[in-house]
C-alpha cells in the first residue's frame, strides 16, 4: 500500500483503529486550498514510510461522523494514531520535515 487509503465513517474503525502499525489520517475537503497543498506531501510520505506507517484520507464533507468524533474543526488536520488512539494532531499545511519528525516519533 503506497497510496493513502480513502476511508469513510464505516471503514474507519477497522482500517485505522484496528491497525497494528501507526496510522496517519488526513482530514480534508475538496474546497480547502491548503488541503490540496498537503495532499501530495502525504502521498510522498506514504511511499517513504510504506510498511511502517499506514496512511488514510477522510473527506470530512462526506464523513461527518468520524470528523465530529475526533473534534475536527480545522482542515487540513493530520491525526496520527497509535494503538487505536490519537497521539498527535497537526493542524494546517506544515513543512514535510516537521511531519517526518512526528512520524519518526510514532515509530519509537
Amino acid at each position: 500500500m503506497s497510496e493513502p487509503l480513502n476511508v469513510d465513517d464505516t471503514s474507519f474503525k477497522d482500517v485505522v483503529l484496528g491497525a497494528e502499525m501507526p496510522f496517519l489520517v488526513d482530514f480534508w475537503a475538496p474546497w480547502c486550498a491548503p488541503c490540496r497543498v498537503i495532499a501530495p506531501v502525504v502521498e510522498q510520505l506514504a511511499v517513504e514510510y510504506e510498511g511502517r506507517i499506514g496512511f488514510a484520507k477522510v473527506n470530512v464533507d462526506e464523513n461527518a461522523r468520524v470528523a465530529t468524533e475526533y473534534g475536527i474543526r480545522s482542515i487540513p488536520t493530520l491525526l496520527l494514531f497509535k494503538d487505536g488512539k490519537p497521539m498527535t494532531q497537526i493542524v494546517g499545511a506544515r513543512p514535510r520535515a516537521e511531519l517526518k519528525k512526528h512520524l519518526d516519533a510514532s515509530l519509537t
Binding site: C32, P34, R73, S74, G92, R96, A97, E98
Partner: protein, 306 residues
C-alpha cells in the same frame, strides 16, 4: 558544489514568485524554497478584489496558482523546504534547510508573515477544535452556530463576511472603537444582519471541553469582564514576520521586519528582502509583487557587478 545557485529565493508567495519570474526570465540560475504552501497567504483568501487586472475579483487559490504557473513556465526551479538559517561564507551565502543546504551568491528573502496569536489561555489547546486562523478552511464546520471573529482589519472583516454563510451569528470583537479595515468592507459588515460588534473589547481566555464553548472578555475602557458563548473563534489580529532565523545576520525592526532601502537591499550585500517580511510593506498582493520585481532586478544588478 552541490545545490549551488546564483540566486536563492526564500518563500513562494506573491513576492517570491514575482522575484522568481523575473529571475527566470533573466536566465539566472535560481531556486525558490517554500516551506509549506506555494502561493502563500493568499491561498486562504476567498476572493481577492484589489489586485488589478481582475475586475470581477479572483480567488486567492487561483491567483496563487497562476503566479506559480507563470514562474514555472520560464523554468524557475521550486523546492519544498523550510529555511532554518542563513550564513555568510566568503562572497556567498549558505542557506540551511530541513532538507539540506544550498549555496547562493545572492538571496532574496520573501518569507512573508504568519497570523499573530492572541497569546491567551486556551488558544493553543483549542487550535483545530474551535480556534481557527483560516475562515476559508474551517468556516463550514460552524454551520448554524454562533462564532466570534477577533480583529478589526481587512482580514477580520473579510472573514466575518465569509462566515455569515455558515454561522447563525458572527460577533466581531475589536479592541478599539473603530475599524482599521478598508471602507468598502466596513460598509458591507455594518449592513450584514448576522454581524454584531463588541467594541473596546479584548479576549482574555478561551474555554471549553472537547471544543470551544466560551470566550472570557474584558472591556478595555471600563475594565468590565464578561463571557460570550460561541463554538468557534477566528483570530485575525495581524501578522508576524517569519524572521526568527535571521536575528544576528540582518537588521530587523523592533517588530522583526527586515530593514531595506528602496531597492530592497538589506545592509548585507547580496541579501534582499521583499513583500510582507520587509519593514514598511503595505502588505498587499499588489505591493508584494512590486517588491519581488524590484528585488530581482537589484539582485541581477548585484550578480552582474560581482
Amino acid at each position: 558544489m552541490d545545490n549551488a545557485y546564483q540566486l536563492l529565493i526564500v518563500g513562494g508567495g506573491p513576492a517570491g514568485l514575482s522575484a522568481g519570474l523575473y529571475a527566470a526570465r533573466s536566465r539566472l540560475h535560481a531556486v525558490l524554497l517554500e516551506r509549506a504552501m506555494l502561493g502563500g497567504q493568499i491561498m486562504n483568501a476567498e476572493l481577492v478584489e484589489n489586485y488589478p487586472g481582475f475586475p470581477q475579483g479572483i480567488s486567492g487559490a487561483e491567483l496563487g496558482s497562476l503566479m506559480e504557473q507563470q514562474a514555472q513556465k520560464y523554468g524557475l526551479e521550486m523546492v519544498m523546504a523550510e529555511v532554518e538559517g542563513i550564513a555568510l561564507s566568503g562572497d556567498g551565502k549558505i542557506v540551511s534547510t530541513g532538507e539540506g543546504s544550498y549555496h547562493a551568491k545572492a538571496v532574496i528573502i520573501a518569507g512573508g508573515s504568519e497570523h499573530s496569536k492572541l497569546g491567551v489561555p486556551g488558544e493553543e489547546d483549542f487550535t483545530g477544535r474551535g480556534v481557527s486562523y483560516c475562515a476559508m478552511c474551517d468556516g463550514a464546520f460552524f454551520s448554524e452556530q454562533a462564532i466570534a471573529v477577533v480583529g478589526g482589519g481587512n482580514v477580520a472583516l473579510n472573514d466575518a463576511l465569509f462566515l455569515t454563510r455558515f454561522a447563525s451569528k458572527v460577533v466581531i470583537i475589536h479592541r478599539r472603537d473603530q475599524l482599521r479595515a478598508t471602507r468598502i468592507l466596513q460598509e458591507r459588515a455594518f449592513a450584514e444582519n448576522k454581524i454584531a460588534f463588541l467594541w473596546d473589547t479584548v479576549v482574555e481566555s478561551i474555554k471549553g471541553d472537547t471544543q470551544v464553548r466560551e470566550l472570557g472578555l474584558r472591556n478595555v475602557k471600563t475594565g468590565e469582564e464578561s463571557g460570550l458563548e460561541v463554538s468557534g473563534v477566528f483570530i485575525a489580529v495581524g501578522l508576524s514576520p517569519n524572521t526568527g532565523y535571521l536575528s544576528g545576520l540582518l537588521a530587523l525592526s523592533p517588530q522583526g521586519f527586515i530593514l531595506v532601502n528602496d531597492r530592497m537591499e538589506t545592509e548585507v550585500p547580496g541579501i534582499f528582502a521583499a513583500g510582507d517580511v520587509r519593514a514598511g510593506s503595505a502588505r498587499q498582493v499588489a505591493s508584494a509583487v512590486g517588491d519581488g520585481a524590484t528585488a530581482a532586478i537589484s539582485a541581477e544588478r548585484f550578480l552582474s557587478s560581482a
